[in-house]
Amino acid sequence: MRKHYRWWATAAALVIGLIFVSVQQTSARWTAAETLSGGTIQSGILDLTVGSAGSGQSSYDFTALGATGMFPNAYAQAPLTVHNSGSVPLIYRIQNVTQSSADVPLSLAVTPVTSEAGCPAQGAASGTAIYDGPMVGAQVPTAPGWRTVAAGGTDILCLRGTVGPDVASGVSTSVHFSFEAESV
């Protein structure tokens, strides 16, 4: 009985082996391959900085807009240069403006100018204002609007902060501008 079993096992193995040989022979399929000369796709860097015409910083102390001895309806005006310090074009906006104290009611006017000279400390900015409204919560331009800056390029904004008519004396505030940028 055991011998018979062996014979059957041997025969079955042979048949299976033949099937495999047969499969290997008939499934031949041709292929050809070639390596193409390619290149490298490189992603860029998105980097928005603000500051003066010469240089930008990620956290800029905008002292030029600060003023003391202000009174109702007095204003401080200064240019702020927005730099695209990255390697790809970007879109940005002033996302939000906050004040450390509500004691000084302020309004904001934003005017794009072609040079910092177009934004004197006193006098009208040379351009058309794109925002004129409350300082707190200002978004310029309003979403979904953006301003575009090419890689390595700049955008100069003339910012004017005007003290409201109902300000008390002897109060102060600091203003915080936050910017948001995205790739195009």
């Binding site: 050809a32 391959a33 070639e34 390619g38 490298t40 995205e182």
Partner: protein, 180 residues
């Protein structure tokens, strides 16, 4: 049976066999050459077209830039980058059908994972799914499109920003011509 008897039987059998081999086993045969032929297999070959360098195009929204110098170009989310390489196919076989397959696993680099890759083959601008003997010797375009989609999470998102200053290399980009 004793040994002597066995030996005798064996000797007798051997003698009979020898005798038979000497005379009665002859068989007739004849042969004549037939008019034949030769079965010849065709071939599948693929070679890069040395006369045509690959070209790159970048589309962003409604803007398309052609003939981009990919060595200096910096891509960003929202871009769709298209690579077009040329290969010459050799396909010889009456019933042979083949397709060009771009092996995207040979595109390497950390940026590759941020890109959605699709491939197609075109001939004179028209999509080509299957090649036959009629295409023997023609140069076809292998088009690979890399979609670099914008993330949806705002504002600043670490995962999205991780794709900055990265690269995807096609230095060993492999294309295959496979029988179907």
């Amino acid at each position: 049976m004793n040994k002597a008897t066995k030996g005798a039987v064996a000797a007798g059998a051997a003698a009979l066999l020898l005798a038979g081999g000497a005379g009665t086993m002859a068989a007739w045969n004849a042969n004549a050459p037939m008019t034949g032929g030769t079965i010849t297999a065709g071939h599948l070959t693929l070679s890069a077209d040395p006369s045509a360098l690959p070209s790159w195009t970048v589309t962003n929204g409604a803007t398309t830039e052609t003939n981009v110098d990919i060595a200096t170009y910096r891509v960003s989310p929202g871009d769709k980058i298209t690579y077009t390489g040329k290969v010459k196919v050799g396909i010889d076989g009456k019933n042979l059908k083949a397709q060009v397959v771009a092996d995207t696993t040979t595109i390497t680099g950390s940026l590759a994972t941020a890109l959605t890759t699709t491939t197609s083959t075109t001939l004179a601008g028209q999509p080509l799914t299957q090649l036959t003997e009629a295409n023997d010797g023609t140069t076809v375009d292998v088009v690979v499109t890399f979609d670099f989609p914008k993330g949806t999470v705002l504002p600043d998102n670490t995962a999205n920003n991780a794709s900055q200053d990265q690269s995807a290399s096609l230095a060993n980009f492999n294309v295959k011509l496979e029988q179907v």
